[in-house]
Symmetry: C4
Subunit: 224 residues, 4 copies
C-alpha cells in the first residue's frame, strides 16, 4: 500500500471516530465486557481501522485502534486486532459500497439469531431503516472466510443493513462506521420491540407496498 499524507490524515480521523463510536455500543447496552466492535474502511487505501482484541471499552483510545490491510494483516498498531477482523475484511473486499462494519451480540437480536428466525418487519421504524425483515445468515465457525462469506451472501441484494448470524450475533454495515453503528442500534431496538409484541399475540402485518413506501421515503427524506 502506498500511504500518502492524505491517507495518514484520514487514518488519524478514523482512529478517533472508530474509538468514539464504541461508546454508542455501551450506551445502548449492545455489548458486555469486550465482546463487540466497530471498524471503518480507509477510503482510497486497501485498509481498515478496527478495535484491538480483548481490550475493555474504557481503555480504548484513538492510538490503540489497529490498522490492517483488507486481508487482515496489521499495518499499524502494537496490539492484535479484533478476532472478527477476517470477517470484516471479507465484507470490505466484497461489498465496495460498505464503509463501516459493526459486530455485536446484542441480547434480543441474538435471541432471534439463536432460533435462526428472521425479525419480521411489523414496525414503521423497521421499514424505514431495514426495508423489510432482518435476515438470518448461516451458522459459521470462526477461523476462515465462513463468517465473512455468510454476511456477504446474505446482505448482497438485501435492503437490510444488518444480518443475524445463526447462534452468533449481529453484523451491521453502512456507508460509513456511524451508519453501521446506527443500524446495529436500530436492529436491537426492533428485535426487542418485535419480541415483546410477539409474546402476547401476533403483530399486525405490514404489506410489502407499505414497507417499500416507508423505506423509500426514509432513505431519501429523513435527516438533514
Amino acid at each position: 500500500m502506498t500511504v500518502t499524507s492524505d491517507v495518514h490524515q484520514t487514518i488519524r480521523q478514523l482512529r478517533e471516530e472508530v474509538c468514539r463510536l464504541h461508546a454508542e455500543l455501551t450506551r445502548y447496552q449492545l455489548v458486555v465486557w469486550t465482546a463487540g466492535n466497530v471498524s471503518a474502511r480507509v477510503p482510497g487505501a486497501d485498509a481498515m481501522v478496527i478495535k484491538p482484541s480483548g481490550v475493555g471499552y474504557d481503555d480504548l483510545t484513538p492510538e490503540n485502534m489497529v490498522v490492517t490491510d483488507l486481508a487482515g494483516r496489521v499495518l499499524e498498531g502494537d496490539l492484535a486486532p479484533s478476532s472478527d477482523t477476517a470477517a470484516q475484511a471479507y465484507v470490505y473486499r466484497h461489498l465496495p459500497h460498505v464503509g463501516g462494519v459493526v459486530h455485536t451480540h446484542s441480547t434480543y437480536a441474538t435471541a432471534w439469531a439463536a432460533r435462526a428466525e428472521p425479525i419480521p418487519c411489523v414496525l414503521t421504524m423497521m421499514a424505514d431503516e431495514f426495508g423489510g425483515d432482518i435476515p438470518v445468515g448461516p451458522f459459521a465457525l470462526i477461523g476462515d472466510d465462513s463468517i465473512g462469506r455468510g454476511i456477504v451472501d446474505t446482505l448482497r441484494g438485501s435492503p437490510s443493513p444488518a444480518v443475524l448470524m445463526q447462534n452468533h450475533g449481529v453484523f451491521a454495515i453502512g456507508a460509513d462506521a456511524r451508519a453501521a453503528v446506527k443500524a446495529a442500534v436500530m436492529c436491537e431496538d426492533v428485535a426487542r420491540t418485535t419480541h415483546i409484541a410477539r409474546q402476547l399475540g401476533d403483530p399486525r402485518a405490514l404489506t410489502p407496498e407499505q414497507v417499500e413506501r416507508l423505506h423509500d421515503r426514509y432513505q431519501s427524506a429523513y435527516g438533514q
Copy 2:
C-alpha cells in the same frame, strides 16, 4: 405572523424547555439514536418549537431547535424540522387545548401498538394519569395528514393523553410540553407493567367507577 417582542421572549424560553425535555426521553430510555421528539406550541402565535430532524440527543441545543408555523413551514432555524412536524402541527391546529406533543417508539407501548391492542387500565397509576385504557389509532403512512388526523380522531373526547398509533409508536399530548413528556413516560411505564402482569396470567379488572374516581381525584388533587 406578527412577531411581537413578547412572542420572541416566549420562543426563547420554549427553545430551552423543548431542548431540555429531550433529556427525559433518554433518561427513561424511550428513544434510541434520533427516533423521538418533543414540540411545544408558542402561545399567542400560530407557531411551534420542535426538534430538528435526525440530530442526536447529545447535540441538541436551544439554538438548533426549529420554529415552524402550524402548517409545518420553517419560521426560524437552519435545520430541517423533525419528520413528525406535519403530524404535530395537525394536532395543534385541531386541538386548541394542547400545548405540547411528544412522539416516541418506546418499547413496550410500541409492542402493544404492533398488535393494535389498547393497554387495559388495570393499575391505579394508569387510572390516575390516563383515565381508562390507552387507545389505539389507525395505521397511517407518513407524508400527508393521515397521522395527525389519526391522533386527533382517537384522542378527541378521550381522557387519555396518549395514543398508540398502529405498527408505529406513541404520540402523547399535554397542556404544555412537560405534561406531554410526563404522559409519554407514564405510557411506557404502564405499558411495561401491564405487559409483564399479563405474561403470567390475568390482571384483576378495575371497574369504570374505580377508574373514574381515581382519575378525578388525581387530576384535581395531586402535586403542588
Copy 3:
C-alpha cells in the same frame, strides 16, 4: 407537639436522610417521574418527614421535605406532602416498631400486584430478607384510611417487610427509612427474578424449614 431542640436536630438529620434515600429509588429504577416516595418517623415526636407531592427527584432538597404529624397535617414546609402521607401516617400510628415507609410502583412487583398474586419464596435471598412469600393487600382507593389499613392488616404478624397492594404497587417498611428502602429494592429484585424463573417453568420450592433457617440466620448474622 412540644418540639425540643433535640427533636429539631433529629428532624434536620432526617430531612437529609429522606432526601438522599430517594436517589436509591431512581438508581434501581423503582420509580418514574414523581411516582414514589420515602418517609421516616421522627423518634420521640408524633411526626414524620416525607417527600413533597409531585416534585421531581432531581429537585428534592433536605429543605423541601415536608414534616407532618401522624394525622398527616403539615408541621413544617411550604409544599404539600406526598399524596401517600395519610397511608404512611396510618402505618406509623399502628405499627410502633416501624421507623420508615417507602412506596413505589416498581415494575415487576406491581405486575404481581395487578394479578393479586403473592410472590412465592423460591430464592434464598428472598427467604433471607422476607422470611416467606411477599403478601398481597386489598384493593383500596386513596382518600381515606383504606390503604393504610390494608398495609397494616397485611403486614402485622408477617415476617415480610413489603406488601403488594392490589392493582397499585409496593409499600415497604423498616426499622428506619434506610431499611424500608432496602426492602423496596429487594422486593423488586426478587419479583423480577421469580417472574423470569416462572416464564419458562416451575421454580423448585423451598420448604418452610429452609425458609425459616435462612431468615433467622440473615436477621441475626448478616452485615456489621
Copy 4:
C-alpha cells in the same frame, strides 16, 4: 502465616483490584444493594481478600476490604468479611488453580438456578467462554461447608467457570479475580439471551464438536 514484605505488597495491590472490580458488578447490574461480592486469593500465602459484609458498593475502599486466611478467619480488617467467605475459602482450598471467586444473584442466571435448569450452550459466545452448558449445583444452606462443596463438586472437571447454585445464585471462578468477574458478567449475558431465545421457540443446537472447536480457539487465541 509468615507475612513477608512481598506478600504485604501483593495484598495492597489485591485490595485495590478487588475493590475496583466490584464496580463491574454494578455496571452490569449483577447486584442490588449489598448482595454480591468479589474475592482474590493472595498468591504465596494461605490468604484471600474479600468484600466486607453488608457494606454498600459506593462505600467500598481498598482499606475496608477484609483479609482472611483460607479457613475464613480475619487476618486484617476492622469489618466482618462477606457472609460468603466460608464458601469462597472452601473453593480456594480445594481448587488450587483458582485465583478469584465472584458471587452474584444476577437476575436471569438466578432464574435458571431457581428452576435447577442448566443453561444450554446455544450461542457461540457461550461456547467460547463456558465450553458447554452452565451447570447447576445442589441446594445448600449457608453456615457450613455445603455451599463450598457444592461449587467445587460441580465445577471440578467442568470447562465452565460458573455454576448456578439451586434457588440461590451464581458462583464464578477464574485464574484471577478479573477473570472470575468476566465469567460472572458473561454468565448473566448468556443466561439472558438464552432465556429470551427460548421464550418464542427452540434455539438451534450446537454440536459438541462445534462447542469444543469454539472453546479451544477462544481459550488459546482471543485477546492480547
